[in-house]
Every structure is written in C-alpha cells, then in structure tokens.
Amino acid sequence: MGRKDSISSGDLTDTHYYILLSLMTPMHGYAVMQKVEDLTEGHVVMGPGSVYTMIQKLLKAGYIKPSEQAAEQRKSYVITNQGIDIFQKELKRRKKMVEHGENALQMKGEQLP
C-alpha cells in the first residue's frame, strides 16, 4: 500500500496498543477481543474484521509471531522482542503525554482528575 500506515510510522493506535499488551501472553484472536473489551470496560470494542486485519499487520511488521501453543484449535499469537521494544517506546510516549497534560492543568491551577 502506498500510504504509510500508523504501524510503520512508529506511533501505535489505541487498538494496536491494546492488542500488543494482550499478547504479552499467547492467545488467539477472539481471546484478544474479549480481553481488550474486559480490560477497557467496553470502551475499546473491536470487530473480527478489524482484529484480523490488525493481527496480519502486526505479524507483517514483526511485532507479534504465531505461538506454538494452539488453543482450542485456533491459531495463537505472542509478542516478539521487537514488539516489546516498540511497546516500551509507545508507553514512554504516552506517559509523556499524560505528564504534559498534568503540568498544563497544574499551571492553570486546576485539579487533576
């Protein structure tokens, strides 16, 4: 595809972020969907088409790989070292964003949420 998608340009979208953190333990696509939904209390809900596409992209980028542990006759995936690297960078970036937000609120003399 001609246009750069968010994966190759570095920043992870919220959904990629949640998929990667779910795959710290090996699991199959549907388990990822459920885990993310539970974890975010329904704020991040993904359809199967989106999950399938994102898993394919993360595989292609080398951030996840198929896991040997097949669960319930379904293919499982797990994060790679490269994926952990990217995730650490992303976490740092998001922490910085929170810090900037908090500083801005404090400077204005407003309460932190």
Binding site: G29, M46, G47, P48, S50, T53, Q73, R74, K75
Partner: protein, 178 residues
C-alpha cells in the same frame, strides 16, 4: 411452496450497504441468504429472524479467519471469489469497528480493479479506433465492419465490469477518507 428464490444485486462495489439491508429485510420475512447467484443471491425459506448481514473481502481466507468471525458471532454464509458474506443477530458488533480498516479493504479492491480497468479500456479504445478506421476507409468491407462491431460489443462487458467497480471502490475510499 417454493423453497428458494432469487434476489438481484445492483453490484457490490456500489450497493454493498443497500444489498446487506435488503438481505436483512428478507430474513425478517423468512427468506435467508444461501449463496451467491448470477448477478444476485439465492435465498432459502426458513423461520423469520432479526439479523444483520456484512460483507468482507479476503483473497486467501484460512480456517482461522472464519473461526474468528464465528467466535465473534458472525456466521459465514457464502463466498464468491474474494467476497465473503456473514450473518449475525441484530446488534452484534460490526466486523469493522475501525473506519481505517474498512477503508484499507476497499483500497485493495480499488487497486485490483484499477489494473483490470486500465487494461480493458486500452483494448476497448483500440477496438473502437479499429471500427472507426474500417468504417471510414473501407466502407465496402461489410464483413470486417460486422466483425469489428461484434468485437467491440463483446469487449464492452469486461470493460464495464472492471471500470464500474473501480469507480465504486474509489468512491467508497473517498467517502471513508473524509
């Protein structure tokens, strides 16, 4: 009483949403999608159900692809080439929860049909020019004129069936990019 009936499609590159809604309406009346038919669908008689239909494109679907959709509540009904139609109870989470993913799917189709359309349009132009040349320079050669006309008419079909989908997918990508 008839067990199956036929429903036309206006071309999935254009009328995906419209077709899927019509299929859902038919299901509500007890006519459920069974398979793709010639330029349309075959429906089979059953109990009325409140369901939704969705279309997805996948050139090389594996068992895991269908399993994931199944797990998420989307039953695979039929496939035609790279197109797959799924059915789920009303209110199930859409298969593409992110607009960007849906757009990428259309973008791939757009790319595929672009090469077909360009190829067909080039041949079409050559055939049209040939017909024009025969008519202009050799008006007496009736057999050749007839042959050129027939060739052009026959070639119109692949041209239309590649150019129109290309326009359809281009429009869809444009809409989702807004």
């Amino acid at each position: 009483m008839k067990k199956t009936k036929y429903m036309t499609s206006s071309g999935l590159a254009f009328s995906e949403g419209y077709d899927m809604k019509r299929l859902a309406k038919k299901s509500l009346k007890g006519w459920h999608l069974q398979k793709f038919g010639f330029l349309g669908y075959t429906l089979e008689r059953g109990e009325p159900m409140a369901v939704e239909y969705e279309l997805d494109y996948n050139e090389q679907p594996d068992a895991d692809y269908f399993q994931l959709f199944q797990d998420a509540g989307w039953e695979h009904i039929c496939s035609g080439g790279a197109m797959h139609i799924f059915r789920a109870p009303e209110g199930t989470v859409k298969i593409y929860s992110r607009k960007a993913d849906k757009r990428d799917v259309y973008r791939q189709e757009q790319k595929k049909f672009k090469s077909y359309a360009v190829f067909c349009l080039i041949i079409f132009t050559v055939l049209a020019a040939f017909l024009w040349a025969v008519n202009t320079f050799y008006p007496d050669l009736t057999t050749l004129t007839v042959l050129a006309t027939v060739l052009l008419l026959v070639w119109t079909f692949p041209t239309v069936f590649s150019t129109f989908p290309y326009i359809g997918y281009t429009y869809k990508v444009y809409r989702l990019n807004k």
